[in-house]
């Protein structure tokens, strides 16, 4: 069951059980009460050790949090790290040269200013500049991160990006894949990168994803279909 809650509301949880708090909640150390700090859908899940609660809220500006998958643009280069922007008009984050698979003092990565990277946030202290990495730091192995070549980036809201990345039943990508083959990378900082073999298909994906943000899930199929049809029509009209 999901309910909409706002800051200041009471949570619908069983206060007897041990509770783990997720994003959008605040535990007041004086009154010992839990309250929501963001407006969104309250999600309660029961686990072995009790329950977890978080607020699924939508926003547009990304604030780095450890473990998030993000897409960034390299905006600067220093002697031992890159400066990466996760969204325009936000403070930048650092990407160390050592945070790449097989990196060493001699073997430096070859990214340039303006390149797109897919990475994971590995440190996000509010007093310090956040850091991202392009490898799985537990194993030191390649984990599918790194340079994104070609393609186009679509700016979406953070909630939409999270749905796309974590919700296995979210139909958008499935429907898209029935029309064309594509590569995709989803950053929870509200950036989606898509690339198809052909430019016109990438364009159709771009328009589809932007329009799907504004329509209900049941309409997705029609929206996407019309975009792909337009592309074919435009090609045929020439």
């Amino acid at each position: 069951m999901s309910t909409l809650i706002f800051p200041g509301d009471q949570l619908n949880i069983d206060s007897e059980q041990p509770t783990t708090l997720g994003p959008g909640l605040y535990f007041d150390p004086v009154t010992q009460e839990i309250g929501p700090t963001n407006a969104g859908v309250e999600v309660i899940a029961n686990t072995k050790r009790g329950q977890t609660v978080y607020v699924d809220y939508d926003s547009k500006r990304y604030i780095p949090a450890v473990g998030d998958y993000v897409i960034g643009i390299i905006v600067g280069q220093f002697s031992d790290s890159y400066k990466v922007s996760l969204s325009s008009f936000s403070s930048s984050v650092t990407l160390s040269y050592m945070a790449f698979p097989n990196a060493s003092k001699k073997n430096k990565p070859t990214l340039k200013v303006g390149d797109l990277v897919y990475a994971r946030v590995c440190a996000a202290e509010k007093e310090l500049e956040a850091e991202i990495e392009c490898l799985d730091s537990t194993t030191g192995q390649d984990a599918g991160f790194g340079l994104l070549e070609g393609g186009i980036v679509i700016d979406v809201t953070l909630g939409f990006a999270r749905h796309l990345l974590f919700d296995k039943d979210f139909p958008l990508l499935k429907i898209l894949s029935s029309f064309t083959q594509f590569e995709v990378a989803i950053g929870v900082n509200g950036k989606i990168w898509v690339k198809c073999e052909e430019v016109k298909n990438t364009l159709a994906c771009y328009r589809s994803i932007i329009d799907c943000q504004k329509t209900s899930v049941s309409e997705y199929k029609n929206t996407i279909k019309s975009h792909f049809k337009n592309i074919v029509d435009a090609a045929g009209g020439k």
């Binding site: 643009i73 325009s88 340039k112 994104l148 364009l203």
Partner: protein, 305 residues
Amino acid sequence: MAKDIEISTSEAQFILEALKQNGRLDGRSFDQFRDVEISFGREYGDVTVKMGNTKVQCRISCQIAQPYEDRPFEGLFLISTESSPMAGPQFENGNNTGEDEVLCARIIEKAVRRSGALDVEGLCIVAGSKCWAVRADVHFLDCDGGFIDASCVAVMTALLHFKKPDISVLGDRVTVHPVDEREPVSLGILHIPICVTFSFFNPQDTEENIKGDSNSEIAIIDATLKEELLRDGTLTVTLNKNREVVQVSKAGGLPMDALSLMENCHKAYTITERLTEQILDVIKKDDAERNKYATLLSSENARET
């Protein structure tokens, strides 16, 4: 602009590649102007223009002032275009000396004020001592490219829509009649200039552009913000329905062949014709809406013809 919007090289390359294959991100063709939505506020001379995500508001106001000494028979007319962070984080408050801001303000000024779109002599009340000072305040509410085009439509529609209070002059005494006492009067508009902005992209390298004969530069009409950030050059053509070029501004940027520039001017004319029709049409509709009870109040009898 304060800090720039960051665009990756991949995106830049993709947009150029798409243009080479005749495609734009939003699915428009190269010569397609966005649909213009014009809406009015409650009062005369309050106009909001929407083009895609771009939104511009213009408000006309007037007051009585003293004319310039060297032009005693002319009223005053001022257009103020100030951008604020409301339109997007790339704009700074109170700092309007950025290149784009200055060019935008100057083009609107040249298109509307210098071209004599408003009959300033009609604003004169008593020569040398009293005249109307008309002021057009343009506010950029949301930015997705095409500020110049949208502002020009907004200012012209607002000027056509605005009505100033009626006055009567008896010798040196000027009486201003409140709007509820006497029907306010429209301003004198001599022609309707319409701006159309082209953005140029160079699909090849610089050498080919300057030395080559291929002339394969791409020109698109009414660029969105992303396209504006990536373009290599721009051309703003201002025309009116009488086939007059009011103003042309191609302030540097990608060198373009003279013939293709002429071609662009002709393309702009068809858009000018269409937009002028649309402006006159919405003004007429709004006027009918505001005066729908006029026939009820009139004592005129219906006549058989």
